[in-house]
Structure formats: structure tokens, C-alpha cells
Amino acid sequence: MGDLQVKKQPKKYDAVIVGSGAGGGMAAYTLAKAGLNVCIIEAGFMYDPQKNITQLKNPWDSPRRGASTKLRPFGDFDACYGGWNVDGEPFTKEAGTDWMWWRARMLGGRTNHWGRISLRFGPKDFKRKSIDGLGDDWPIGYEDVKPYYDRVDKMIGIFGTNEGLENDPDGFFLPPPRPRLHELMIKNGATQAGVKVIPSRLSILTKPIENDAGRGACFFCAQCSRNCSIAKADFSSPNVLIYPAMKTGKVEVISNAMAREVLTNKEGLATGVSFVSKNDGMEYQVEGRVVILAASACESARLLLNSKSDRHPNGLANSSNVVGKYLHDSTGAALGGVLPQLFDRKRYNEDGVGGMHVYSPWWLDNKKLDFPRGYHIEYWGGMSQPAYGFAGSIEKMNGKYLVKGKQKEAGGYGASLKEDYRFFYGASVGMAGRGEAIPIASNYCTIDPNVVDRYGIPVLKFNVKWTEHEIKQAKHMKETFKEVMHNMGAIITWGGDDNESNNWGLSKPGEIIHEAGTVRMGNDPKTSALNKWSQAHDCKNLFCVDGGQFVSQADKNITWTILALSMRACEYIVEEMKKQNL
């Protein structure tokens, strides 16, 4: 690098988008369809679900039989490149705090393997401070976002049911799949415990819908985590947004491109993005009329904080000093076990869709509880495809329960052991809560003054701690799950021994991979980075359309709201461009 040069792309785009997940994909699609020229900068590898296939593979197609590696932490068939640690891209943590940070490094990001759980926020979710005095209200309400949720439902497709629930609003749903056997048992056990169970709401096409992506209907292989290469029946940004957007000829993708800074001019307006190419190690700049950040809540905050200039000495869009603050993740706690009534069960194909067919939206009134906000419950179990770790530690099972009426000695080998494996297969069941944490200013990421990554980009230092609110929520989850398991006649084999010494099994901050809040929107430029159109208060041609803009994230997985808000912001961009305001 003795002769460092910066190569400027000659073409000036209407929009430069950093990141290609839900927010970036929707931005590229919306803008390209409106006729704008778009450049996407993606930090990871190019990826085409039509060519990069793990779907319908057999376990033995992976010599490690689907086990995880550092490069694919959710297993060999999982469709997400990247993970908890990325070589050459460190991050740091303040002593005594914790943060787990999943970074996808591929076109489409985490949308390639996510759970497809697509929950709109309800009216209360935008106005939590008005309800419980904690955190802040959004500058917008459900009525502002509803039209976009409706269009996302119809355009991308989602199954579910209209239940008329106050804070889990109805939508435009395709029919859900019928519950599996263990899900019927869960429904009974949960209902007895007063927990509501309704069909899940997943962005999977149980029927074909009109679309421009060549998408078909789900054929029930349960492998959404592998991305639906064959039918494109689940939502991923590449299958549903980016490749269709590229067909307009208006979208260019630069992959393996690590954004370094958002560039600004003397007036303080954004002019483009500088990046380092992981292919050739060279420095590049690409110009755009608007710059849209969709790099993930933490990467977008990092980019802003690293974009210092005379006009933006505290980092870009950060005169309020809130960028990086209010970082929060979903809470999580889980337990599982076995259902003895499913021992020695009849075999049939119960793959179904990828994920649960039923779930439990938050069902309680916080006035009667010792913690704010709520959680939803996700369920699993049954006869899944064997993979590495199959029936591990059977010695803890086969001496404990009668096998075909016989008391056996724990452990063993031979034909008797083979009988045991068959006997116990498909009897597992489990559940997990995903709850709402309170975003607070003292939970933040900021630039570590002492550490850079291999590209010389200063890295993030995290400082996040759970509070009593989240810990009490986890305790409540565990108590609920135990009651549901008991009602079903299930035996808890893991996750049942938590107590206050381990925060009741509460996940680590970041572990649920729902990072949000770091570039939040608000009406007051002194306390927020963005206005209600996801537009920077300090820089009118800069937008952030990922989880960073969230004021709070409800007990709802955030992707559906990212999609709706990105569509909303990008239509605003098109209108403002027409009015010559951008």
C-alpha cells in the first residue's frame, strides 16, 4: 500500500445503499422500480440462491453431517455466511458487559436464513412510553405504517390468520398450515395455562401469489433456514427483492466491499460512500444523490460514527449524540424436553414449513406483572431430519424410561440400542420466548479508540447490560414454559434448572440477533438521529432503513417492520426527488 490511491467510480447514482438485507433489498427494489439508478455496496460475498444451494440436500452431502463451523455457526446447510466472529473484523466490549454480534457477510444478509417470523407491530408498540413511562414513543404510529404493512403482506406474502387482536393486528394472510402433532399437544397444554395459541405468521407462500420473481408455493420441506432455492416460496432479500430489482437494469451490486465512510461535502450533505474492496484491497468511492444505510443497526451506527468531518465533527447524523445508543436486542429464554406419549410414534412426513405452525402472541396485562412489556412464544419438536448430534447422550434416556415396556440399563450397544434410537425418535419438544427489552441510553456501542479492523476501519466497542426488567421477563418465561410442559405431560430435560444466579437463563444481549435502536428516529433533533421518514435530521439526503431506526422493537421480530419502513422511506425519497428537495 505504498502507493495508496482512491478510485472514484465515474458513474453517479441516484442512490447508494450500504447493505442488502431486508432494509437494503427493499430500498433497492422500491427505488429501481421507480426508475432510479441504484448502487448496492455489500460487505460480503455475492450469493445467488439459484446457484448456491443447500436445500433438499441429504445429511451425507455434508461430510460433517450438518454440524456447525466457525464459518457457518448455524450448521453446514444454513444459508448464512458469516457469524459470531468474522476473521479480521474484531469488536470489543467494556469490561463487565456482554454482547454477541452476528454479522452476515453475503448478499441478502440474514434474510437468507431467518425464521420468517413476520409480525407487524401493534398500536401500543409505537407508543410504549405513553403506556408505561419507559423508553420513548415513536414519532409515528401504527396508522402511519399500516398501509405499508398491508402492501408488504401482499407483495411478499405471509400466512397467518386474522384474530382481531388489539396489539397483533390483522393483515393480508395466506392460509396457514395445519398444526403438527406436538403442536396440537402444545396448544392444549398452553391453553390450560391461559396462554393463547394461534397460527404462526410466517413469510412463506402456502399458495402462489402474483409476483415478478418467479416464486412458487411452498412444498413443505421445513428448510427455510437453507433459503428456498427451488420454489422461492419464503422471503429472502435476494430471491424476492434484489434479483427482481436487478432485472430492471437499474441496480448494480458491488460485493466484497466494506464501507469505510459516508462522504459529505462542504454543505454537510452526503455525496457518496467510500469503501475498501476485499477483492483487490483498493480504496474506492461511489457517488450518489442520496445515501441509504442498511448495513445492520450496529454497522450503520459504526459507519456514521466513523464519518467525521468539519460539518459533522461528532460523526454524521450525530449532533444529538444518540448514534450507537439505545442499542437493544430481544430477550430470550428457552427450555425443552420429551413427550413420553410420542415415544415409539408412527412415522410420516411432518416436515411442514420451516418453523412452527402455531405460536403464542403476548397474552397478559402488565398491570398485574412485575415487569414491563411482553414476549411471544415460539415452539418446536417432532420428527426432524437427522443431523450431527442426532440422539446425543441416549445414555441419559434409555435407562430412565421403559423402552417398549422393558426397563433397560442406561447406555448399552447393539440391536437393543438401535431399538432405543427408534423408540425415542421424534419425541422432543421445546419452546422459547422472544421479548421486548427497554432501550436505554446507557446501553450502547461506540467507536473503540484503540482498535481497527484489518481494513484500518475503527471498530465498535459494546457496552450493554440487561436490567431487572429483562431478567424478570426471563423468569416469567421459564415459569410459563414449565407450566405448559407440565400440562402437556412433557418431561423437561434441559433449561429447567435456571435461577437468579444465571438470570433465569436469559440469553446474552445480541444473542437473539435482533439488534436495533442505534440510529433512532424521533421528532426532536436533540434526542434522535432520524426524523419520522428515516431521514437524518442533520443531513437531508442521508437515510437509515435498517433496525437502527427503531425507537423500540416490541415483542415482535423486526424484519416485517424494517421492510415496511424501508418501503415508506424510499417512496418518500422518490417524492422528495420529484419535488427537487433531494
Binding site: 400466512f159 390468520t161 398450515p177 410420516y348 411432518e350 448430534g389 446425543g392 440399563e409
Partner: protein, 222 residues
């Protein structure tokens, strides 16, 4: 030094163990069976291609004696029965050799466990495990296969056998033979129409009218 001879010497206390172990480690040639080399038949990103190329370039982890011992053990754990074939027929020894390359944390427990087993056999039968009679092998396995009734002095063997059992199950039930044995019926395009009626009846369960009305259903005749 000949493996048999060195083990015999260890057993009789004629040589110090560390020296003998060192001698054995260089003794056997690594197995080089190209046909058994693992093949990745699924999407790989460039970082994975690089990592896995390096992994495979290392060649097999176990020597011929170790692999033969693993094969005997796997087939004791999962033998052929009236339903399906044996672990070795399902390629489990090759799977175990690959997985220890991929997961180095298994290397010492397995390699050390195999040696522990051989020494136990040598003390009792004056032969390494794989060369013992079937009856002797089973006699030894019975001492380590049942964690709750094994003698305390066999606890290391119990740990080793638990690991062998787990890895054998992982390898076997993720093979074509094992998938058929366990009866996993999925991983293929189909139409999910709910739990089969006879299964619902068995568990005295039924779909509600609401579920039947709102859920997707497929006409089996179609």
C-alpha cells in the same frame, strides 16, 4: 518398533510407557484411501472452500490400527440387525475420521481412549482390542457401556464409549441406511395436509372447525 511387540512390552512393564507411545506414534503409516475422501456436495463460500481444502490436505487422522479398532467398536454399537445394516456399512468409520479433523476437540479423547482400550485388553487378554476374540471384546465393552453400573476404575472407558456411541449414532443416522432405519420420511416435496387421521385418532386429538376452515388443505385425490 512393532505395535504388538511394544504393547506387549508395555503390558509386561519392560519399557517405560512414554517411550513406547512415542515409538508407536511414528510406527503405522497413515491410511490413504482416496475413495473414502469426503466430498462436499452443497453450497460452499470461498472461505469454506479454502478451509476445507486445507482440512482434506491433512489426510486421514487415524492410523490403520486405530481405524480398524474404531470399525470394530462402531459395529458393536450399531450392528446389522433385521431392520438395517451396520455402522461400517453406513461408512461411520470414515465419518469419524473426518469429524475429528474438523473438530480437533475430539482428537485427544478418541485417540487416548483407543489406547486406553488397547491397554485394558492387553492386560487382560494380551492382545489389542481389535485382535481379541469377539467374546473378549464384548466382555470389555460390557465393562464400559453402562455408565450407571460400570466400576469406578473404568470411568475413563465409560467416557470414551459414550463419545464413541454418540459419534457412531451421528454418523449412522445421517447416512442413507440410517435415515431409512429411523424412518425419517421428509426432505422431499410434498403437500402437508395435517396429521394423518389414524394418528389423530390414536392420540384422541382432532382439528377444530376453525383450523379445518382456515388452514391450507390439499385434496389427496388431485
Amino acid at each position: 518398533m512393532d505395535r504388538r511387540k511394544s504393547l506387549k512390552l508395555i503390558a509386561t512393564g519392560a519399557v517405560a510407557v512414554p517411550a513406547a507411545l512415542a515409538g508407536c506414534a511414528t510406527d503405522d503409516k497413515k491410511v490413504a484411501d482416496k475413495a473414502a475422501e469426503p466430498v462436499f456436495n452443497l453450497d460452499r463460500n470461498p472461505d469454506e472452500v479454502k478451509y476445507e481444502k486445507e482440512l482434506l490436505a491433512k489426510g486421514p487422522f487415524f492410523n490403520a490400527h486405530e481405524l480398524a479398532t474404531i470399525t470394530v467398536l462402531c459395529d458393536i454399537i450399531i450392528p446389522k440387525d433385521e431392520v438395517s445394516g451396520s455402522a461400517s456399512e453406513a461408512g461411520v468409520p470414515d465419518f469419524i475420521d473426518f469429524i475429528v479433523r474438523d473438530m480437533p476437540n475430539h482428537q485427544v479423547p478418541l485417540q487416548g481412549g483407543l489406547r486406553w482400550l488397547d491397554l485394558q485388553c492387553f492386560k487382560r487378554y494380551e492382545k489389542p482390542f481389535k485382535d481379541c476374540t469377539a467374546a473378549q471384546q464384548i466382555e470389555l465393552v460390557d465393562m464400559i457401556a453402562y455408565p450407571e453400573k460400570a466400576k469406578p476404575e473404568m470411568s475413563q472407558g465409560v467416557q470414551f464409549f459414550n463419545l464413541m456411541r454418540n459419534l457412531t449414532a451421528s454418523g449412522f443416522y445421517t447416512s442413507a441406511i440410517g435415515i431409512k432405519d429411523i424412518g425419517y420420511a421428509g426432505n422431499q416435496p410434498n403437500q402437508w395436509n395435517g396429521v394423518p387421521p389414524e394418528v389423530l385418532a390414536q392420540y384422541k386429538l382432532a382439528y377444530t372447525e376453525k383450523e379445518l376452515k382456515e388452514c391450507i388443505s390439499f385434496d389427496k385425490e388431485a
